[in-house]
């Protein structure tokens, strides 16, 4: 279902950073305690979870998809982790960190007495090596983009054996959050390979498991292609619980590869797997009976970061990148472009969509209507005070009339020039949810007198249409956030952004409101004061809701099902929803 989303997920974590600042931010973590808040429990046993795709590599630094990342994250350690529950950073291999007053350097104290899974000690050299590889453009790590400031790379210096300094070319407000996605690699294993120029071939799916060494709670035991990945307990893992017992509690973590969601559901129902995440809204009734028997627990985490949207193509006749106007070639019919560019048209469409019906009929009630940019699930940054578009056909019609459109009895809506209003909306094929949503929107807009044609495209064709060829009229899709920090949305919000889908990669902002958003985004990146950043980002959300460049529809709820006797399970809205604290999970 998320096939289109997955490749995009990576994009949303990418940042384009243009900053100049002089503020100070000091943050201390737990001051070096290596204890988890986890309670004491008996360790042992194994936990099985289904994933829709297997890993593509075990090298987290060159992986680009969500499934590979979540498996590799169990194997690898990182300096700072974003606690998925609180959505705040917390120290892992870094015990403390400090941002300099100019916001350009970040100094991390590293945890002492930490060993890799092969027993080799962890030092600052490993961090320096990791960033050396990350910054190597010949490796082309997908994780490197946030550290790339218009071609200038972040420098990492070793201050002593357990202290490193990151030097950013420009100040950056939430720099420590970026470290969540960077696995610390073992220099003693990978440096020889790297120097030989064979880094990309290291740690592939056929690599012997014992040579894959990391700082994560688990190590690779076995990979059976297309079937399962078996991870076993890393005896050298540094974290202990309050009673001083070494984590992880589980002996084995098994990832069962089941591409079909029906298989996933059946396996979970039959007890072959212990976790089902995410659960489709349709499947909740099937699981509800099991929950009543007390066998499983269904957790509805509320609106997720997956937001269903549709938008009109606002691209003029200018192709991106080349910047050259193609003579006589327009991407969108100029007549239609005129409608799409009129904010009243977009607002009218937004008013005419019955979001409650989408929630009810498409998501069985397991979704929430949405009008602004952020999902209400983004607790820290969500602005509830934005303009809302509850279903109101009269309001929609009056907005259209105000914009010069008129109605002809039995013939529908006509624009000021007398053209009938009709457009084609594309979406991805084979996706029942989108298909249903598009049929609902089609019927809703028919009531407004607008005829909507639907075209479904195979996922890759769809992505190339909206990213490259840009010759479409409207598109129905979803966006996902990999992080909650405002800067992680820059690719969508900035007029230069690649996923600024309604008009991507503009050389200069096409409209005043886009210029204003650009300015606000730049300012929030420069500001280290959280309250001020929130204020700036609230305004961005307000403008976005007013202008409706994306017509936000609903955000589906994230639902997770688990065996009732799994302890310490803290499902959260950021990926990986359930395994993010896999070291603490245990069987009661």
């Amino acid at each position: 279902m998320l096939s289109v989303l997955r490749p995009l997920l990576g994009c949303f974590c990418l940042l384009i950073v243009v900053i100049a600042n002089s503020n100070c931010d000091r943050r201390k973590s737990d001051g070096g305690r290596s204890t988890s808040t986890a309670q004491q429990h008996s360790s042992g046993n194994q936990l099985v979870i289904s994933k829709s795709a297997g890993p593509r590599t075990f090298n987290r630094l060159i992986s680009a998809d969500e499934q590979t990342n979540s498996i590799a994250d169990c194997l690898m350690g990182r300096l700072i982790r974003i606690n998925r529950q609180t959505q705040q950073p917390e120290g892992e291999l870094a015990t403390a960190w400090q941002t300099s007053s100019d916001g350009k350097t970040l100094i991390c104290e590293l945890r002492r007495d930490v060993k890799f899974s092969d027993g080799h000690p962890f030092t600052a050299d490993d961090v320096v090596f990791t960033f050396q590889v990350l910054n190597d453009s010949s490796i082309g790590s997908p994780s490197s983009d946030p550290f790339d400031f218009d071609g200038q790379r972040t420098k990492v210096e070793k201050l002593d054996s357990h202290k490193v300094r990151f030097v950013f070319p420009a100040p950056y407000a939430a720099a420590e959050r970026l470290l969540d996605g960077i696995p610390i690699l073992p220099k003693h294993i990978l440096e020889p390979v790297y120097l030989e120029g064979k880094f990309e071939q290291a740690w592939t799916l056929s690599t012997p498991p014992e040579t894959i060494v990391g700082l994560g709670p688990f190590k690779l035991k076995e990979y059976v292609a297309g079937q399962r990945v078996i991870l076993s307990r890393n005896e050298h893992y540094w974290k202990t619980d309050k009673a001083g017992k070494r984590l992880p509690y589980l002996d084995e973590l098994i990832i069962s590869i089941d591409p079909d969601r029906n298989t996933q559901l059946l396996k979970f129902q039959q007890g072959e797997t212990d976790l089902l995440s995410p659960v489709n809204a349709d499947d909740v009734p099937a699981l509800a009976a099991m929950e009543q028997q007390g066998k499983i627990k269904i957790t509805d985490l509320g609106p997720s970061m997956i937001r269903e949207i549709f938008w009109f193509n606002l691209n003029g006749s200018i192709k991106p990148k080349s910047g050259q106007p193609k003579s006589g070639h327009t991407l969108v019919d100029p007549v239609k472009l005129r409608w799409f560019k009129d904010v009243r048209f977009r607002q009218a469409v937004s008013y005419a969509i019955d979001r409650e019906a989408i929630v009810r009929l498409v998501f069985s009630g397991k979704a929430s209507p949405q009008w602004g940019f952020l999902s209400p699930g983004d607790r820290l940054w969500f602005n509830p005070e934005v303009k809302k578009y509850p279903y109101n056909l009269d309001r929609a019609k009056s907005l259209l009339v105000e914009a010069g459109f008129h109605y002809q009895i039995d013939k529908g809506l006509f624009d000021p020039q007398g053209q009938p209003v009709t457009f084609t909306m594309i979406t991805n094929a084979g996706n029942t949810i989108r298909q249903k949503m598009s049929a609902l929107i089609q019927a809703d807009l028919a009531r407004l007198g607008i005829k909507v044609n639907l075209a479904t495209l195979e996922s890759r064709a769809l992505l190339s249409t909206i990213n490259e060829s840009l010759n479409y009229e409207a598109c129905l899709l979803a966006i996902v956030s990999g992080d909650t920090d405002p800067t992680s949305h820059v690719n969508i919000l900035s007029s230069r952004g690649i996923t600024h889908w309604w008009h991507p990669q503009q050389t200069r902002p096409a409209t005043d409101w886009e210029a204003r958003i650009d300015d606000l985004m730049k300012r929030q990146m420069n500001t280290l004061n959280p309250t001020e950043r929130k204020r700036l980002f609230d305004e961005v959300q307000a403008i976005f809701a007013e202008q409706q460049p994306f017509v936000f529809l609903v955000s589906r709820h994230l639902i997770v099902a688990s065996r009732a006797d799994i302890g310490n399970l803290k499902p959260a809205l950021l990926p990986d929803f359930v395994l993010w604290n896999c070291e603490e999970l245990y069987w009661r």
Partner: protein, 354 residues
């Protein structure tokens, strides 16, 4: 005593009979689908989604027996488990030739009369409603029109193509035959689905549903003609050596005359049988494409896209009536296979059927 041969003849006679009968019913459904169905296939009853098939009652709550069956209005009481209850205070008898949603008969004459229906606000869902509250029965019947139209038009393109290419290459042989056969093999060997997907994405996006349908017909025909052409060629190859053809040639008949006057009439039975055999294939091609979401776009009702909505275990178990398009596909295929079996006897000169 019934010999094997007479039994075979009898069964073929019946195949032809049942085949024609089913086909007749299907054609009536397809041509008069607006009249036959109580609702427009695109009307969404958003408060009555995934409603079970209406139960027909004869006895009301007071024990009074009615001659005309009636239904009750449904009310959704449990959204979690999708439970509907019947509102038993008012009965809604089924009425025939009732005015309902307007439509155009044959696409021309404005009309409002439907074969049957019930008074509002009750709805009669013979086969339940789908996830958007649309009547499954109405959609299936309209889907028959779409499927048969696709298959019919595809046949009209594929048959002449197969006939011409098959007979020319069978009659003349030589390099032309060689080239044609290799081209046909190419078509047979190509993974059609991928090519169709590629073709669809090559087409412009802004197409009306009717245009998409037409494009799909062309694509299906393009892949359908190849195997038919091969069979025609084989038949022509054997006919060419027969005495009556040799006689015609010896009498100085021109090549086109031999082909048109002597060979083609002998191909009639083969073509008819092949046509009947191809139709289920063409229908399935459309269903497959729509199932994958690459065929007929919403809101046109297609059996394939209807089936796609029940692609999950949960849906299958709880809302089984959405599987009805599968039965429709089965019945349609059956009709054509029965027809093909009956027709194949026409090719048998010793046939005693007609």
């Amino acid at each position: 005593m019934m010999t094997g041969k007479t039994f075979a003849n009898l069964s073929r006679r019946w195949s032809l009979f049942w085949g024609l009968l089913l086909l007749f019913v299907l054609l009536v459904c397809a041509v008069f689908s607006d009249f036959m169905t109580p609702y427009d296939p695109t009307t969404q009853n958003r408060e009555l989604y995934l409603a079970p098939p209406s139960s027909l009652h004869f006895t009301d709550t007071e024990g009074f027996r009615h001659w005309v069956p009636f239904v009750y209005a449904l009310q959704l009481v449990d959204r979690e488990r999708m439970l509907y209850v019947e509102e038993r205070s008012v009965i809604y008898p089924i009425r025939f030739l009732v005015p309902g949603e307007p439509y155009r008969l044959f696409g021309l004459f404005p009309c409002r009369t439907h074969l049957f229906g019930v008074d509002g606000p009750a709805r009669i869902f013979i086969l339940g409603s789908d996830g958007l509250g649309r009547d499954v029965f109405s959609r299936i019947v309209h889907g028959a029109r779409l499927s048969l139209a696709v298959a019919g038009v595809a046949l009209l393109i594929a048959i002449p193509l197969a006939l011409v290419v098959g007979s020319v290459s069978g009659y003349y042989g030589g390099p032309f035959d060689f080239t044609c056969m290799r081209v046909i093999e190419l078509f047979l060997a190509l993974p059609a689905l991928y090519l169709i997907i590629a073709l669809r994405s090559a087409l412009p996006l802004s197409l009306a549903p009717e245009q998409v349908l037409f494009a799909m017909v062309i694509v299906i025909a393009l892949f359908g003609w190849a195997s038919m052409a091969r069979i025609v060629r084989g038949a022509v190859l054997s006919l060419r050596e027969r005495e009556f053809i040799l006689a015609a040639i010896a009498l100085g008949a021109s090549d086109p005359r031999v082909i048109f006057r002597h060979i083609w009439p002998n191909l009639t039975a083969i073509i008819l049988t092949q046509a009947a055999l191809s139709v289920p294939g063409f229908i399935l091609a459309e269903v497959t494409l729509s199932y994958l979401g690459l065929g007929v776009p919403e809101p046109l009702p297609s059996w394939g896209s209807m089936l796609a909505s029940v692609g999950s275990v949960q849906q299958l178990g709880s809302f089984w009536w959405n599987l009805a398009p599968g039965a429709a596909i089965f019945i349609t295929s059956l009709a054509f296979y029965l027809l093909a079996e009956g027709l194949s006897d026409l090719a048998d000169p010793h046939s005693q059927i007609l």
